[in-house]
Amino acid sequence: MNFMTHLDLSFPAQLSLALLPDLLLMGGAMILLLWAAWRPESARHQRSVGAACLGLIVLTTIAIGWFMYRHVTATPGPIAVDRFRWIADLVLLLGTAGTIALSMDYNEREGIFAPESHVLILLATSGMMLLAAARDLMIVFLGIETMSVATYVLAGMNRRSPRSAEAAMKYFLLGAFSTAFLLYGMALVYGATGATNLSVIGDRVMRFGLTTSPLLLTGIALMLVGFGFKVAAAPFHMWAPDVYEGAPTPITGYMAAAVKAAAFAAFLRIWYEAFTPVYASWHNAVWWLAAVTMAVGNIIALRQRDLKRLLAYSSIAHAGYLLVALTVNSPAGSEAFLFYAFVYTIATMGSFAVVVALGDPGERSLNVDDYAGLWTVRPWLAVAMAVFMLALLGFPVFGGAGFFAKWYVIRAALQAPSPHWKLAVILVLTSVISAGYYLYVVMVMFMRPRVASAAIPARSRGLTGFVIAASAVLLIVLGFFPERLVRLTEGSAPYGALTVPATSSAVPLPSLPPARR
């Protein structure tokens, strides 16, 4: 039946059907919110709401699976119905499920009994899924706000901790600031092209020869700054370490994995679908953003001894690697991005799960030196952490799929119509630098003797242990069978994406006069 596999987005009913997974998550989250408020706060209620949230995520995943299985397509509209969206959604839901599972254990330990925290995570995720789907600047903004506002609150979820409050405040101020940049950029882009729909913007830029329009270029620059803040790319990364350090650990993992992936998904789609015709103008800016981010993130991370800060800088560095995929601006780049986001999300969730498992109430002992001799007391935890560190480093075999993630990004950079070999070289060199801190963690765990006075960490709780084990196994298995994931991400370039002109300096311009609109 045609109706079920090809949606006409101009009908409200079919538009709603195209948004089914998002609506399912939002509606379910609202019902769960009521349930969370219905009973008084308690450790048990917190766990049962968390479990229900995990169930809702499974339902949403099934809905997405149905769309992917039926190969549902749609007419161009404000919402994308394509593979890029579904894979990005799966990455986001994976990160979300991990976060909620960790939160259930973490909140119990830290005495945070608010069951809303899990529901808030779901609401943030529904904003992220909108971001992954958005093909209209207004929907992008809606998604960014839905995601950010919930995440500001989540960062300050631990009300008794002043550092958590500080993190929430900083995140809120910087987030509002960057949103202003983004919105101003969108307004200018709209002013230049008269459209908010991404493909219409791209089309009009081509047709009316707007490639040198100062209004459009200023708008793109402002949007670049806004997204730079959101994905924590240097030099817009200053907020990240403080916020990541102060926020509850599962939420830090959520911000490092899912929030970043969602912002990147929108970033990539806008730049691919709308701004490809002006590639020559923005490619240098994004190139430098990628190079600086990789260098700054990795070099500063070398000096970090607090594990959460270390992972924060590591996540900045990974934003740089993802920016390489964006700079490439080819279908291979978008596939490499999704592959990378998948692997990075698993590895990040895993490493934050280890931080949750080893942290004690009040979030002390997060220093790398507290991990000394972990191998002798909790060998499996040490092995899992080593896998995550090696995966983030991109080490072959022992780092599982982490190696292939970087490999595909580098391959996309080198096989692009205009090869970015310099960027590939920087990527490899900065990855070598990153060995300095990833391997240091591994070395401390396996080779340093355990401090005699250090207590033996408690056995990790059920869900935390499950997240750690599942992430490690998944990474290793995907390391042996990366083609499974490759086949999943294949052909997932945002549709409407134009191919980049081979020589980036000469964009073929149609000789139409700028039309009156």
């Binding site: 409200p12 609202m30 919110l33 009521l34 408020a37 219905w38």
Partner: protein
């Protein structure tokens, strides 16, 4: 220029009103000033003092909820203006009415969804005790 005439009229009316009220109260009252009366009126709070005063969090709560439900009303205004067009599947007639048989529940349904979402929030704050002063 023509369209600004009502605006100018409004500005003129407001200015006249302000001057008029002050003038009339000057003319018909007898001044018996005392220190309390001389103080500027500040909703019952002592008007002088340190600006960095701590307020109970309850005030913020009420202010926040007020804004949320205020926004709801603000959204209803443009919706009301466009209601005819939203609940018509075809172009409106010249008279502004919807052709027979082309009405839909779309516009109404949209607002119902919006209010339902806000209602969820309302129940939530109620259940959480945010509306309780003590």
């Amino acid at each position: 220029m023509q369209i600004y005439v009502p605006l100018l009229l409004l500005i003129g009316f407001v200015a006249l009103n302000a001057v008029g009220i002050t003038l009339v109260s000057h003319l018909i009252t007898r001044g018996r000033p005392n220190p309390i009366k001389e103080q500027p009126y500040e909703s019952g709070i002592p008007p002088l003092g340190d600006a960095r005063e701590r307020f109970s969090v309850k005030f913020y709560m009420v202010a926040m909820l007020f804004i949320v439900f205020d926004i709801e009303t603000v959204f209803m205004l443009p919706w009301g203006v466009y209601f005819q067009r939203l609940s018509c599947t075809t172009q409106l007639l010249a008279s502004g009415a919807c052709p027979r048989g082309a009405t839909s529940f779309f516009g109404f349904g949209e607002m119902l969804v919006f209010i339902a979402i806000l209602f969820v929030g309302f129940i939530y704050v109620w259940k959480k005790g945010a509306l309780q002063w003590d």
